[in-house]
Amino acid sequence: MTRKDSLPVTDAHAVNVTGVSRIFSIKKKAAVTALESVDLTVAPGEFVSLIGPSGCGKSTLLRLIADLDQPSAGTIEVFGKTARKARIDQDYGIAFQQAGLLPWRTVRANIELPLELHKVGTAERRSRSTELLELVGLVDFGDNYPDQLSGGMQQRVAIARALAESPNLLLMDEPFGALDEMTRERMQNELIRICADTRAAVVFVTHSIPEAVFLSDRVVVMSPRPGRIRSVLPIRLGGPDDRSEHIREDTAFFDGVSAVRESLHGTPDSGNARGVDIR
């Protein structure tokens, strides 16, 4: 399958967030500021992780980019369009912490769901889903139902589904959060390979420092109450070919982990960093 014709022109950012705030009003007078004047750009093909303790607004930011929620102030552009337009044009694929597969559909039918909704023909759907099943290594499981799959396999199906329409942007909200450590590391390796294959930009929300460091080109460290970007750390672990298992024991990797950890625990109040996995 060829890449979308609407390939972003080089001057358009994949994501451009400018001065975005999100205030949730709980009761009549009480309001919670989930995000306060956040600026962030993601280049096409770039892998950016959002990390921070619970309540720092990282998931909220992702939901705003996905147009599942609207900002109280500021603007969000996805490939130079409004977030709403980008959602309607299917410029992004999304994966959540729960795989969220429809239990009555086979693995293949789950992957084909977005294509089916957008009236892609049966033959093309089938060839695309075969391609994606190969990509996520589930060729033999196309006719199985989700309840016959392990958690890691379900999450791979969810990622395949997110990739179905060859989006140039992947939004992932703790997609490996519910997996065990072994599966998690294997999924991270696979995600790097998939991203190299598809050259999609990724915004990746996570609790885990090593995960963020291992996957990302840049790690965005956020702090809570109100949710703000504390720092943006570039990580240089090399291209996808260099980033295999051994890099997890490399000094560059440990340096990255320390840098992110220091930023998380740093000023002004180290107590804020609770809820972050230091694994």
């Binding site: 299917q90 009555w104 909704l117 309840d147 379900q154």
Partner: protein
């Protein structure tokens, strides 16, 4: 998944339950005092005379005798089967009407929150009106209805009353089912820019199946009960309801007779539940539970 052998087990246990009931009946007629058990002037257990509690074999023997002593009277079983078929047919029509109305109400309530607040209390209130009270009204309204060739008939009144009883579980069950998908799934469909209609077809309707099937079964039982009761209160001939009333009068001299239409009613109930189970079989894949990742 139910395998063949577990099916037989279930049928076996079902038959065992019936046999047990028959055993208790016969045991009590054998051991119990003829005048029943009376505590402080109140009869707590029935009399055990052959008239009050006929033996089970009497009930069955009666099925193979003619309905009346008049010449040319058909055997009881054929009359009961005929009445059962009639009642099942009317109940089926009532059930179908109930499915359509119940589903439409559920869709309306799911689509518009305000409709749920406005309609739901009335749906619940509707079930507190006794059937006996509305039966004559429905009949009168129906008889006033005449559009061209079409004229309202009494069996339609009965079907309508049956549907009045049966739409309730469907609308409530369907509403719960339509609202059962996780936010997760709803947002996924939203991210695909799928509108209400396509979210309904791809997500809400399939997700409602596990809630809908018990509701359909309950509605089938309600439709049968509604039909029998409405047959009595409207005075419709041909069905089990009328037969129950007519044969009850004969109990004094012919104790097996009133049981024949009761067996018919049991048969109709079993058939109705069985038919709904068949629907459940075809929808089996929608009953797969989602397992957390």
């Amino acid at each position: 998944m139910t395998t063949g052998s577990s099916w037989w087990r279930r049928i076996g246990f079902g038959l065992l339950g019936v046999a047990l009931l028959a055993g208790v009946w016969e045991l009590y007629t054998f051991l119990g005092p003829a005048e029943g058990v009376v505590v402080g002037g109140v009869t707590v257990l029935p009399r055990t005379t052959d008239l009050a509690m006929p033996h089970i074999w009497v009930m069955f023997e009666r099925l193979f005798e003619p309905v009346t002593s008049a010449a040319g009277s058909p055997p009881m079983w054929s009359a009961v089967l005929q009445a059962s078929a009639f009642t099942l047919g009317v109940a089926g029509v009532g059930w179908l009407v109930a499915v359509v109305v119940g589903m439409l109400l559920a869709l309306l309530m799911q689509r518009f929150r305000s409709a749920e607040q406005a309609v739901l209390p009335w749906i619940i209130l509707s079930q507190t009106v006794p059937l006996i009270a509305i039966a004559p009204l429905v009949r009168r309204w129906g008889s006033a209805l005449e559009i061209g060739e079409f004229s309202w008939e009494n069996w339609m009144s009965v079907a309508l009353i049956a549907s009045y009883l049966a739409f309730f579980p469907i609308s409530i069950g369907a509403l719960r089912g339509l609202e059962s998908p996780d936010t997760n799934h709803v947002e996924l469909l939203h991210s695909y820019a799928a509108g209400w209609w396509r979210t309904l077809l791809r997500l809400r309707l399939p997700a409602s199946v596990p809630y809908l099937l018990p509701a359909l079964r309950l509605a089938a039982a309600s439709a049968v009960i509604g039909t029998v009761v409405a047959e009595v209160s409207i005075g419709l001939r041909g069905g089990l309801g009328r037969m129950v009333v007519e044969f009850a009068a004969a109990a004094g001299g012919d104790p097996g007779k009133p049981w024949a239409p009761i067996f018919g009613a049991v048969l109709v109930g079993l058939l109705a539940a069985g038919l709904v189970s068949l629907i459940g079989l075809t929808l089996r894949r929608f009953r797969r539970a989602e397992v957390p990742a």
